[in-house]
């Protein structure tokens, strides 16, 4: 019997060895043909339903497959996408969109106003339970639709086959920006059944410049340019997006010539910058973000504005920026990042002012005999520790004791949203380039907790100012209003404001014409070209 066992084992071994030898090495050429761009995503874009996605990786695939009514181009200019033209009525409540008449979905269906109405209504439909329903919550009848009281949202209607009207319940100037978001991408209404049972999203048919030709989950997505695309034709034949969760693995793939693009982090930036072969192909792009340590403004010790201001003065931001980001970040003197409508250009921040900071702390009742002590909740990740340990060290120099509480991401969000965390290290990445995106969710009292106002900041004055500012249609006047709010909030120091940092990418020598914008994740890859 033992002999049989041994023989079975041996036969098994021989069979496998034979298979290896016969099959030989696989052809692993990742970019056959010409014009194939090899990129990667850090996680599987499991959900390609624009109404349901909240993930950057998913958005970057969706942006190439689908189109919305409007989009931001490579220079961050708002341009028509499915809409040929649009107008806003005088009270700023009704938007009229004229659609292009020769747009076809990848499955051959012609785009009409019905598709737009169907797709936008779907975002509000209770059975879809879209996490992005807030994008269209200003539309007339949205609340009733979300509660299931109506079967169609009243404010979105087809005027004729190629005209759509969207009516808002109150004027909301950033609305056009919201329409650029993936949630507002248009799906073919004739595929409603497949959309409902989700089978549509295996290989979704949009109107975008690329269509999915192959998809192996957790491995790669291959997109081919869509010949029938109505807009400017993409220069690439194909895009291959591999799923590579590990940065180190992505680095190896890039160095082996298997990737055309690599995102750089503080941990590997210097290595590539000091290499003359790579340094000239590094792109530092200002991103739409703000990093901060949020305080729970409703709980002691952070219910005292003096404590909050003092902490803002006790941190030497420039020193940390130089140490961690090698200068690729700017100190945040407000929540709105540079380049975004409403950025406070000449705002003087708290700066590094330990004398004044300590004085304020003393006034609030904290000194050497009674040191200010608090916990910073943070993600249990190396990148977060790199920052929080420096903050901890900076504050320790001035007698402030900080304990770091690392937590798993989902648990961290939960405890912050419930108001349990006294202080927390977080960042906010904007969805669209309008100051409203850095004010309303973050500081309006309607949005306490999960809505974005995790600091539980509450000011009736600020609430009113935000509500008024979003009604201003003129961009310059609206920018001024945002600027005023940004400064006023900053003055209340609801956060320990840190910085706005750039994102860095390295491209291979084969890549040309890559346009990076702060909305890189929504890029349609229209101008991108590669040699191979």
């Amino acid at each position: 019997m033992k002999r049989i066992l041994f023989s079975m084992l041996l036969i098994g071994l021989i069979a496998f060895t034979a298979n290896l030898i016969l099959n030989g090495p696989a052809q692993t050429n990742t970019s056959e043909g010409t014009g194939v761009f090899s990129g990667y995503l850090s996680s599987e874009p499991s959900n390609l339903d624009p109404a349901r996605g909240v993930d950057v990786n998913e958005a970057s695939v969706q942006a190439k497959i689908f189109d919305g009514l409007v989009r931001y181009d490579e220079s961050m200019k708002l341009v028509g996408s499915l809409a040929e033209s649009w107008s806003v009525n005088s009270d700023g409540k009704e938007y009229l969109f004229k659609l292009h008449q020769n747009v076809f979905f990848h499955n051959g269906q012609k785009l009409t106003a019905d598709d737009v109405v169907f797709s936008l209504d779907r975002v509000l439909a209770p059975e879809v339970a879209s996490p992005r329903s807030w994008v269209l919550e200003k539309v007339e009848g949205a609340q009733e639709r979300m509660k299931g009281e109506t079967t169609r949202v009243a404010g979105i209607r087809k005027v004729d086959d190629f005209t759509v009207s969207i009516k808002l319940s109150s004027p909301f100037a950033p609305f056009m920006s919201l329409l650029t978001m993936p949630a507002c991408y248009v799906l073919p209404h004739k595929s409603a059944e497949a959309i409902k049972d989700k089978s549509f999203f295996e290989k979704p048919a949009g109107t975008g410049p690329f269509k999915i030709v192959e998809r192996v989950r957790d491995s790669y997505v291959r997109l081919a340019s869509y010949q029938g695309y109505a807009g400017p034709k993409p220069r690439l034949a194909e895009i291959e997006l591999r799923i590579i969760p590990e940065n180190m693995k992505a680095e190896m793939e890039f160095e082996s010539g298997n990737l055309d693009l690599l995102q750089l982090y503080p941990s590997n930036y210097e290595r590539f910058r000091s290499d003359p072969h790579h340094s000239k192909r590094i792109h530092d792009i200002p991103a739409m973000n703000v990093f901060y340590v949020g305080f729970n403004n409703q709980k002691a010790p952070f219910d005292d504005v003096r404590v909050r201001k003092a902490l803002n003065m006790l941190i030497d931001r420039e020193k940390i920026i130089n140490a961690v980001y090698q200068g690729r970040a700017v100190a945040a003197n407000g929540s709105i990042p540079p380049g975004i409508l409403g950025f406070s250009k000449d705002a003087k921040g708290y700066g590094y002012n330990p004398v004044e900071g300590k004085k304020l702390l003393k006034e609030a009742g904290y000194d050497k005999s009674r040191p200010l002590t608090f916990d910073i909740y943070q993600k249990s990740a190396q990148a977060a520790f790199e920052i929080t340990r420096l903050i901890q060290g900076e504050l320790k120099k001035h007698g402030v004791v900080v304990n770091l509480k690392p937590m798993e991401w989902s648990a961290l969000k939960d405890s912050i949203n419930k108001g349990e965390a006294p202080a927390f290290y977080l960042s906010w990445f904007g969805d669209y380039p309008d100051g409203e995106n850095f004010l309303y969710p973050l500081f309006h009292s309607n949005n306490w907790g999960s809505g974005g106002n995790r600091a539980r900041f509450k000011s009736e004055e600020i609430d009113n100012m935000i509500e008024e500012a979003v009604k201003i249609q003129d961009p310059d006047l609206r920018a001024q209003a945002y600027d005023r709010i940004n400064r006023r909030v900053y003055d209340q120091a609801p956060w320990l404001y840190l910085w706005h940092c750039s994102e860095s990418y390295l491209t291979s020598s084969d890549v040309s014409n890559i346009d990076f914008s702060p909305l890189f994740f929504c890029d349609k890859a229209l101008t991108l070209s590669v040699k191979h």
Partner: protein
């Protein structure tokens, strides 16, 4: 034998039910709300509540457990809350990658482990034995993520003998070689230790001495009489390793880009995709139990003494 088989199979049912309960409870107890992951960073409480309701998280825990258990009994592991895809379908898609990886890793493990073990036993105490011991201890001590990255860097990036990833393996097994080697080398090191000690023990027994006295060729004594008898404990180790490999290796599958069960599980954990996590845990436990059942039955088949002993124990 039939009675023994039936008893062992019936015995696995309570174990599976227990695992079902544990998999459900543990996920219920860990902090974090899956609705928050689906809702994203800017969803108000109303939206989160709506999503929770859609995901059935608003129902009491016992109701959720019973509805889950009854679905599982019907062979339905539910749908991913992120992609909406049936969990069983996804597992079926990913399992072939994991099987290939597991079997090739076993191949490396057995070939390298047994050969090294034999060399160690035959050269007991000499420099070659010490070299083999050094290899075993190193293999056991180096964590897989480190050896994986080193192999990847040396053999794929620098020497370019292997592809850097197995993402487009097709039917070829070539892209699986390096990850399987990484995975297999660790259990090869374990096996080498076991084969060595068990072979040394066998080689010191009387029947080997008799065989030598009869003038049999040393190679025949070693393989035919020594190794075959020393292989019994090795089968146990192989069984255990195989079942853990079939559950997917998160680290190796991540480093080498293989879309198997391990990566699927990791992705689900990060996204708090409860049905997927539960499905993968249950599937893993099922595989583990089945492989062990197979090994038990194989033992009983090979050695009737074991069968009788087990039957006596269960009758008591």
């Amino acid at each position: 034998m039939l009675e023994f088989t039936l008893r062992r199979i019936t015995g696995t049912i309570p174990v599976l039910l227990g695992i079902l309960f544990v998999a459900f409870t543990v996920l219920y107890l860990i902090p974090g709300n899956p609705a928050l992951t689906v809702a994203g960073p800017r969803a108000d409480q109303e939206t989160i509540d709506r999503i929770s309701k859609e995901m059935g998280l608003d129902k009491p825990v016992h109701a959720r457990f019973f509805s889950y258990a009854s679905r599982v009994c019907q062979g339905n592991l539910g749908e991913s809350v992120v992609s909406g895809k049936p969990v069983l379908e996804s597992i079926a898609e990913k399992f072939p990658y994991t099987i290939k990886l597991a079997l090739i890793a076993m191949l490396f493990s057995v070939v390298i482990g047994v050969i090294t073990g034999i060399i160690g036993a035959v050269t007991n105490g000499r420099w070659l034995d010490r070299l083999c011991t050094f290899f075993s201890v190193t293999g056991i001590s180096i964590p897989v993520f480190l050896s994986g990255l080193i192999f990847l860097y040396v053999f794929a990036v620098k020497l370019r003998w292997f592809p850097t990833s197995g993402f487009r393996g097709g039917d070829s097994l070539w892209p699986f070689i390096l990850p399987a080697f990484t995975l297999g080398i660790r259990s090869a090191a374990f096996l080498a230790r076991i084969v060595r000690s068990s072979l040394i023990e066998v080689l010191n027994q009387d029947f080997i001495r008799t065989a030598r006295a009869k003038g049999l060729k040393p190679m025949r004594i070693l393989l035919r009489h020594g190794l075959v008898n020393a292989l019994i404990p090795v089968v146990t180790v192989i069984g255990l390793d195989l079942s853990s490999y079939l559950n997917g290796s998160v680290i190796v599958e991540t480093i080498f880009d293989l879309p198997g069960i391990g990566r699927f599980a990791m992705d689900a954990i990060l996204k708090r995709d409860y049905p997927v996590i539960q499905g993968v845990v249950l599937f893993g436990a099922f595989i583990f139990i089945m492989v062990n059942l197979f090994i038990d039955l194989l033992y009983a088949y090979i050695n009737p003494k074991i069968r009788d002993e087990m039957m006596r124990k269960s009758e008591k």
